[in-house]
Amino acid sequence: MKAELESIQTEVLEQLKEITSPDDLETLRITYFGRNGKLTDIMKGMGKLSKEERPIVGKFANDVRATLTDAFEKTKKELEIRKQKQQLTGETIDITLPGRKPAYGKAHPVIQTLERIETIFTQMGFQTVTGPEVETEHYNFDALNTPPDHPARDLHDTFYLTDGKLLRTHTSPVQIRIMESQKPPLRIIVPGKAYRVDYDVSHTPMFHQVEGLLVDKHVTFSELKGVLVSFARQMFGDQTQMRFRPHFFPFTEPSAEADITCTVCQGKGCRTCGYTGWVEILGAGAVDPEVFKAVNYDPEEITGFAFGMGVERIANLQFRIPDIRTFYENDLRFLKQF
């Protein structure tokens, strides 16, 4: 009987290897474990055994039964895994089909640049203020130490309006408006639109500027350098060098223009920088005493500095758009690039 059990175990284990479907497995189970199954039959014959044999064979039979039950379970799991695998294989999709991107818009490239500039100065404690775009001669020129016959007015080709007003040629008038209404210390930036009669590949009649002003009891030219160098490093990268050249603006003295190492050639010299390694990015200087006088500050006691930069110019150091008028066509193929 023991031999019979052994042969059944071998037989079943062999057959299990061949099983490929749950139905076959069930049939096999019934063949051996069913009411009239082969193993069931043998178990039924246990009663005929002697008292001495019975526990021994009984234990052996239970072992066989347990082994086979385990084997059935294992095969069943294997079949399930195989089935799931088959099913999943059938569910394969073409992963190269396009993704369904949620719609999202993009900020205009000039505004993106403007916001970056604003963020950097905000972190240095500058507060954003704005002012009107339609200005008077007083705020746009006179109060900024640029009287009517000053040749510096030639530098700004101005749009005049019919009622004697003008479109501001820079954001600097806001300096005056703020100083008229507030007392030092001041740390402000003025982002906004400005206008000049100019229309070619590198000029648009409307453009954006960010003006900055820091006024306090003892502000030095070295601090102007510090603020602008910090700005340049954050805006253009840690390796950026900045140089300051003497220049002229009616409302600052001493005045400077600041260049950064060319963003195209990293200062080696290329067409963009005219082989100088430098590109101009902004104008700056210590606030001219005449400007302080125009707003009733005492220039002996109060000093300060101001700076102004063209946003399109800075944007284009990065984007390299050959004709900057493209910025204002609002072609979606263009806007989506940034």
Binding site: P98, R100, A103, Y104, G105, K106, H108, V110, I111, G125, Q127, T128, E133, V134, D149, H150, P151, D154, L155, F159, Y160, L161, T162, L167, P185, L186, R187, Y195, Y199, P205, M206, L214, D216, K217, H218, V219, T220, F221, S222, K225, G226, V227, V229, F244, R245, P246, F248, E253, P254, E257, G274, A286, P289, T303, Y328, N330, D331, L332, R333, L335
Partner: protein
């Protein structure tokens, strides 16, 4: 301004390479815009003399030339130029030369004849466009001489950008002074010592002419000399080369000398034909009403009393400081010259030059300011050069009327103030050295320590205050040598800016909802209002005009963002881009105010346009959803949408957003007439909000509301109502009847068609019931729900749809 380094070196020595000099000048504030090496590429070109010519045996159009270039043997060069002749001096490009035009000269055989170089035209040397024949050189030149030397092309030209405050640098001497500040080298002034000793004649100038300044407010100084018996002719080569190198064309020796001295001293001069002056005298006066003058450019110009003229006894003979008169100009027949050296009021010259649109080397300098003290030295220098070059004698004496004489300006300068402003620790010695090299007089102040009394040289009209001196010290010290430090002062606390916050919220929402940001010019075409169907009396049509617009398209300031966005839609549609979702935030210009607005457009197709997310045309509820989003992110509730008559919109598909009595915006479908005007073949939807009004209404304070702990129960409700019933009416009834249990009502379907009777529509809602205090039972909810159904039926005639 162009500066020739060769010329500059006659006034001051320096060892800098052109690049170094350019860098140093740039760092002094004289920006060098370009460096031009004049003879670049012509190093292998020499002066040759065609000793003999003979026909080419195999070609009719070619000639064999034997050319002497100073070597032992003549070179045979084959040449096809029509103007070659025996004895001609012409440039020869020797073997190995790479010409600026890119041609490399090689030994060659032309139709079997050896050719050892090339005889060149001006075009081949990139000197001009003249390719008609060989460039003919002067026979005075020595054979074999480098061409660059022969033509004065061994020179470097710096193009300088002189800022408006530095007219003193608009001359060779001025630039030399800057180099002195940098190097400390001495300036070599030309010797003007002969006047009064050797070459002044017997005739006294006072006997033959006079100068009267009738309007001294516009003419602080006028000086004149007379040179008699000159011979007007072509200038000698060295004068012509100097002028050409800085871009001034040669005219005749007298005029060229005035230009030469202009470039040398920065003092504009003018030479009159003495005999063409009525009564041979000069009157400086304002022009009279309706007077005219024909200037050197042969244009007759109308004058008025705001303009200063140089007149003779009868009529204007020059537009003072701007341009001379045609009738008194120097010609070949001129014998006696009256030479003017004067100083004029900058603003007057500026307005005259502007009014006539006449910008000359003279007006450029006068309107910026010329040193009144240089008048006589420049006049004497020119007189002497005229005698040297054109012969003649100088009349004894000089007429010098100088009503505007000023004392030299003195300014107190404090060392501590220098360092206070700059953040430096510059010492007294450096201050003294810098200022004296720049030509300032320095005396220590008697009472204050480390304080100076500075005398400003007459050529530095820009220096009037201590701060101006500080800038001088700073720029010579070098801006790069000033420390870089961070501000030490307190950071002011900025006030809360609600407007900016609202802007940011709206912008972020619009960007996240898939709209692209546009930025348009503030100017539009005046016909824009008509295109968006506004009548002339519509308030938005009152736009400010530009006095000097660039074009009609940019001639008025926009009062609304809508035309710009429609233009953008049209532009994109014309380029086959039809998924238009754009917005713009900008101020507009209305009645002297600049209200900030945000507007947007949806048109063409929305959606991803990809498999599973196809394009579809937008409709009113897309734009309404965006409008609702804008208001929601600004915490605005309780607004109404009311239909308007705004002509830009479809009359049945628009609404103004009203909060209390205030209109804060408008949304709607674009009127078909407007679409037609913008050639858009599809529907478009707009929103247009006033950011200021949104800011007034915005509420940003938020408070926690407990998350529901009791479960909610949902009930669907489909009703059939009259087609024209506004959907907010059932909404109201559900809300009020359901009371605090109604957590949300969602309209998930609107249906009109076969399944409902004619004139009816079906509205389907999901109502979510929830109580904050108990678990709602089915029965309780059903009771409440039934009440709603009953009221809907009673008040709106709504039938339940099964």
């Amino acid at each position: 301004m162009n500066v020739s380094l060769k010329w500059l070196k006659t006034y001051i020595d320096f060892d800098f390479s052109p690049k170094e000099l350019a860098d140093r000048l740039t760092m002094l504030g004289i920006e060098v815009e370009s460096i031009k090496h004049l003879g670049a590429g012509l190093e292998g070109v020499v002066v040759g003399k065609v000793e003999s010519i003979s026909p080419h045996p195999n070609a009719d159009k070619l000639i064999r030339c034997q050319v002497d270039i100073g070597d032992e043997n003549n070179l045979q060069i084959v040449c096809g130029a029509p103007n070659v002749y025996q004895g001609m001096f012409a440039p020869v490009a020797t073997i190995g030369t790479e010409l600026p035009t890119g041609i490399t000269i090689k030994r060659a055989k032309l139709r079997g004849e050896e050719s050892h170089g090339m005889l060149c035209s001006e075009k081949e040397l990139a000197l001009s466009d003249d390719a008609s024949g060989l460039m003919e050189l002067s026979s005075n030149l020595s054979v074999g001489m480098p061409l660059t030397e022969a033509l004065g092309l061994n020179d470097v030209i710096l193009e300088l950008e002189i800022t408006p405050n530095r007219p003193d640098c608009l001359s060779m001497r001025g630039v030399a002074r800057e180099i002195r500040a940098e190097t400390g080298n001495t300036i070599k002034y030309p010797e003007v010592a002969l006047i009064g000793i050797d070459i002044e004649g017997d005739t006294d100038i006072r006997e033959i002419t006079s100068v009267t300044i009738a309007d001294p407010d516009l003419c602080p100084r006028y000086a004149a000399r007379v040179i008699q018996n000159v011979k007007v002719a072509e200038s000698p080569t060295w004068v012509k080369q100097r002028l050409e190198s800085v871009g001034i064309g040669a005219i005749n020796n007298i005029v060229d000398i005035t230009n030469f001295v202009l470039m040398e001293y920065g003092q504009p001069l003018h030479a009159f034909d003495y005999h063409k002056l009525a009564e041979n005298r000069i009157v400086v006066r304002r022009a009279m009403e309706n007077e005219t003058i024909t200037t050197l450019d042969e244009v007759e110009r109308k004058l008025n009393p705001n303009m200063l003229v140089i007149a003779d006894a009868e009529k204007p003979v020059a537009l003072a400081g701007v341009m001379g008169g045609y009738d008194s100009e120097i010609t070949e027949t001129t014998k006696d010259v009256l030479l003017e050296s004067a100083n004029f009021h900058p603003a007057s010259i500026r307005s005259t030059s502007k009014e006539h649109g006449l910008h000359t080397e003279a007006s450029y300098r006068f309107e910026r300011g010329v040193d009144p003290e240089v008048v006589i030295s420049a006049l004497d220098r020119a007189a002497q050069l005229i005698v040297e070059i054109a012969g003649g004698t100088i009349c004894k004496g000089v007429l010098d009327v100088y009503p505007g004489r000023k004392k030299p300006l003195k300014i107190r300068l404090r060392k501590d103030r220098v360092n206070f402003i700059l953040g430096t620790s510059i010492e007294v010695e450096e201050i003294e050295q810098t200022l004296s090299r720049l030509g300032f007089g320095i005396e220590p102040n008697q009472t204050e320590v480390d304080s100076f009394d500075i005398t400003v040289p007459s050529f530095r009209l820009d220096i009037t205050r201590e701060i101006d001196l500080i800038e001088e010290i700073a720029r010579v010290h070098g801006y790069d040598n000033i420390p870089t430090t961070l501000p030490k002062g307190d950071i002011p606390i900025p006030p809360l800016n609600k407007h900016e916050k609202v802007r940011k919220c709206i912008r972020n929402f619009l960007l996240s909802s898939g709209m692209m940001e546009a930025v348009n010019y503030s100017f539009i075409h005046p016909n824009s209002f008509e295109k968006i169907r506004l009548n002339d009396d519509h308030p938005l049509c009152e736009a400010t005009k530009l006095q000097n617009p660039l074009s009609p398209e940019m001639s008025i300031l926009r009062t609304t963002l809508i035309p710009s966005l429609l233009d953008n839609a049209q532009h994109n549609h014309n380029h086959q881009i039809n998924n238009i979702a754009l917005f713009e935030m900008s101020s507009v210009f209305i009645n002297g105010n600049e209200p900030d607005r945000v507007a947007g457009i949806l048109a063409g197709e929305i959606g991803g346009g990809v498999y599973g997310n196809p394009y579809r045309p937008p409709d009113f509820f897309d734009i309404k959803g965006i409008a609702e989003g804008i208001l929601e992110v600004c915490g605005i509730q309780g607004y109404e949408l009311k239909q308007t008559e705004e002509p830009t919109y479809h009359p049945g598909r628009n609404g103004e957003v009203v909060l209390g009595e205030t209109q804060i915006g408008i949304i709607g479908e674009v009127h078909p007439g407007v679409l037609e005007n913008y050639e858009l073949p599809f529907k478009a939807y707009l929103f247009d909000f006033d950011i200021e009004k949104i800011t007034d209404a915005a509420v940003f304070s938020k408070r926690f509301e407990p998350i529901p702990i009791y479960p909610s129960i949902q009930r669907d409700l489909a009703i059939v109502v009259d087609q024209d019933l506004k959907s907010d009416m059932p909404m109201d009834i559900i809300n009020t009847t359901g009371g605090e249990w109604v957590e949300s009502i969602r309209l998930f379907d609107v249906y009109e068609g076969n399944q409902v009777p004619g004139g009816k529509k079906s509205l389907a809602y999901t109502i979510t019931y929830h109580s904050a205090t108990e678990t709602l039972t089915d029965k309780a909810v059903n009771d409440r729900h039934d009440k709603i159904v009953q009221r809907l039926n009673k008040e709106l005639g709504a039938e339940l749809r099964m």
